[in-house]
């Protein structure tokens, strides 16, 4: 065996454990899920459906699923832009070398990321409860006359989820932007300043274009995460009131492990989620790659 071939084999040996695990834990289950999505029955007794696309046909007439789909997109379209713009602004401010208490600010803003999704859902659920801190404070200050039931009204419950998501994830995205900003040559900014560019111009003309690849990365990650939301819906609002805040993953969980073990229908739902994740990622990559 020549040197080249041996190197090549060594390389495959390095990749082997990870590749096997990904096939076993991701690709193989995905293939099975695809087969399952054409079957009906419960638990272990599954058979192919008549007609084959029975589950898929059912999805788009399913009111709860449509509601869940709308909720996911509502979170996506409102929460992700607010969070990413806020994270970008914060990162730009923190990238200033002359700023005092830089480390302190950065740590404080990143700290929410250390809490688990269940934990922060519980914190926000308690804060926004009918007799919780937010209501007590708002009534005491005089903004509200009587406590408002944030979590049992769908529009306000959705907003609580959005506030919670922004709180939890802004710092996380900020770290990525900070890392990207550190790789931008400071001279670019100096030159632009000499040319008379103000802070807003610096931000839109230099920071955003140079960070484009990282912004793209965070957009894809956030879209992916938002379409798969589960813990917040499950713990903060329990999907309620009347499925007003439920997410697709939460509904899928209910279909397969709470109401009945309808694995076929759940698999079909999961493929709808996956195609949306894939299509959105492709669009974002196409749009983001233009220079």
């Amino acid at each position: 065996m020549n040197l080249y071939k041996r190197r090549n084999l060594t390389g495959w040996a390095f990749l082997l454990p990870a590749a096997l695990m990904i096939c076993w834990m991701s690709f193989w289950p995905m293939a099975q899920s695809f087969m399952l999505s054409f079957q009906t029955g419960t638990g272990a007794r599954m058979r192919y459906a008549e007609p084959l696309n029975l589950n898929y046909g059912r999805i788009f007439n399913d009111r709860v699923f449509i509601q869940a789909l709308q909720n996911n997109f509502y979170y996506l379209l409102i929460q992700v832009p607010i969070m990413l713009i806020l994270a970008l602004i914060l990162a730009t401010m923190l990238n200033n070398k002359n700023l005092k208490f830089r480390g302190l600010f950065r740590t404080a803003i990143f700290l929410p990321c250390a809490t688990s999704l269940v934990s922060y859902s519980m914190i926000f659920r308690t804060l926004f409860a009918f007799n919780g801190f937010i209501n007590t404070a708002l009534v005491r200050v005089g903004i509200l006359d009587a406590p408002y039931n944030f979590l049992t009204n769908a529009p306000s419950a959705r907003i609580v989820i959005i506030i919670a998501l922004i709180w939890r994830w802004t710092g996380y995205n900020m770290v990525f932007y900070l890392a990207g900003l550190q790789n931008i040559d400071g001279n670019v900014y100096e030159a632009a300043k000499i040319d008379g560019a103000g802070p807003v111009r610096l931000f839109t003309r230099i920071t955003v274009p140079l960070l484009r690849p990282i912004i793209l990365l965070t957009v894809i990650m956030s879209t992916n995460g938002t379409l798969q939301l589960f813990d917040e819906s499950f713990n903060l609002t329990s999907g309620g009131p009347a499925n007003g805040t439920i997410t697709m993953s939460h509904y899928l969980y209910n279909v397969s492990f709470v109401h009945s073990a309808n694995f076929g229908y759940a698999s079909a739902i999961s493929f709808v989620i996956m195609s949306m994740v894939a299509v959105l990622a492709l669009i974002q990559m196409k749009v983001g790659d233009k220079r």
Partner: protein
């Protein structure tokens, strides 16, 4: 307005904004810590000062819930996931970059595809598979799905780019074989990347909720997030106890975060640069 005045207003705005955001970020955590030392009545009254009920809340948790077991389970799950994931994914990321520069793009597409598979898609077949293997309620079933993640492989692959290939050549001339180059040269040099990967993996594994909730059915194997989620199941929620459980489940990840914060930032920077 003069230039200096403009700049002063800008600076004042910047500090006010950053302080406000920092306070909003910390407040819910402060409130949670305070609530864990109070009774439900005082929490609902809106108290913001630490109380004296901490020990009572703790006793309630220790007597009424399997909290020590849940802490131990979460720790075992998170530690073993992290160890296995770091070894497997860094081997792959390194192998990728050092030996397979030609196939790089093709492999990247495979990894990106794997990254796009939502957990919802694999969850049900995984559940059926582990049930068939008799691994319901087993630690192995909890950790196996999260030890080989495309994200970590990509992170290590990107960082390997900054690892000088001269070192590899020099080590080969010195007679080191390929696997010891990895363990004795690569791992010690790439500490920041490992720290970043460790932070991400440990936190992810500790905080994981959906999969443990699906695969674990008995109280013995329950994890911290599951225990916290169950505390609101009753008709009346004891908020002090709930927040103490939240606090306890947050402490380990906060410790990991503070220990590795610096190298975490370095590691991410290294990966983003490549």
């Amino acid at each position: 307005m003069s230039h200096a005045a403009k700049r002063r207003i800008g600076t004042a705005f910047r500090y006010t904004f950053l302080s406000a955001v920092s306070l909003l970020s910390i407040f819910p955590l402060y409130w949670m810590a305070v609530a864990s030392t109070n009774r439900t009545v005082d929490i609902l009254r809106g108290t913001l000062i630490p109380g004296t009920e901490f020990l009572n809340n703790l006793r309630f948790l220790l007597e009424g819930q399997n909290i020590t077991g849940a802490m131990r389970n979460s720790f075992v799950n998170a530690a073993s996931t992290t160890l296995a994931a770091l070894v497997i994914c860094s081997l792959a990321g390194y192998g990728f970059e050092v030996y397979h520069t030609k196939n790089n793009d093709r492999m990247k597409i495979v990894l990106l595809t794997a990254m796009m598979i939502p957990f919802a898609t694999t969850m049900i077949p995984l559940f059926r598979m582990f049930a068939q293997m008799g691994l319901l309620n087993a630690t192995l079933a909890v950790i196996l799905p999260s030890i080989s993640t495309p994200f970590l492989i990509m992170l290590f692959r990107q960082s390997t780019r900054s690892f000088p290939h001269d070192i590899i050549e020099a080590a080969r001339l010195d007679g080191l074989n390929e696997i010891s180059i990895f363990f004795r040269m690569f791992i010690p040099t790439m500490r920041p990347t490992y720290a970043a990967a460790m932070t991400i993996t440990f936190m992810g594994a500790w905080n994981n909720f959906l999969w443990p909730r699906v695969i674990i059915m008995n109280n013995e194997m329950m994890t911290m997030p599951m225990l916290v989620a169950n505390l609101t199941a009753g008709y009346v929620t004891n908020y002090g106890v709930l927040m103490l459980a939240v606090l306890l489940s947050t402490i380990p990840t906060v410790i990991v975060f503070f220990l590795l914060q610096k190298s975490f930032a370095e590691g991410i920077t290294g990966a983003v640069k490549g």
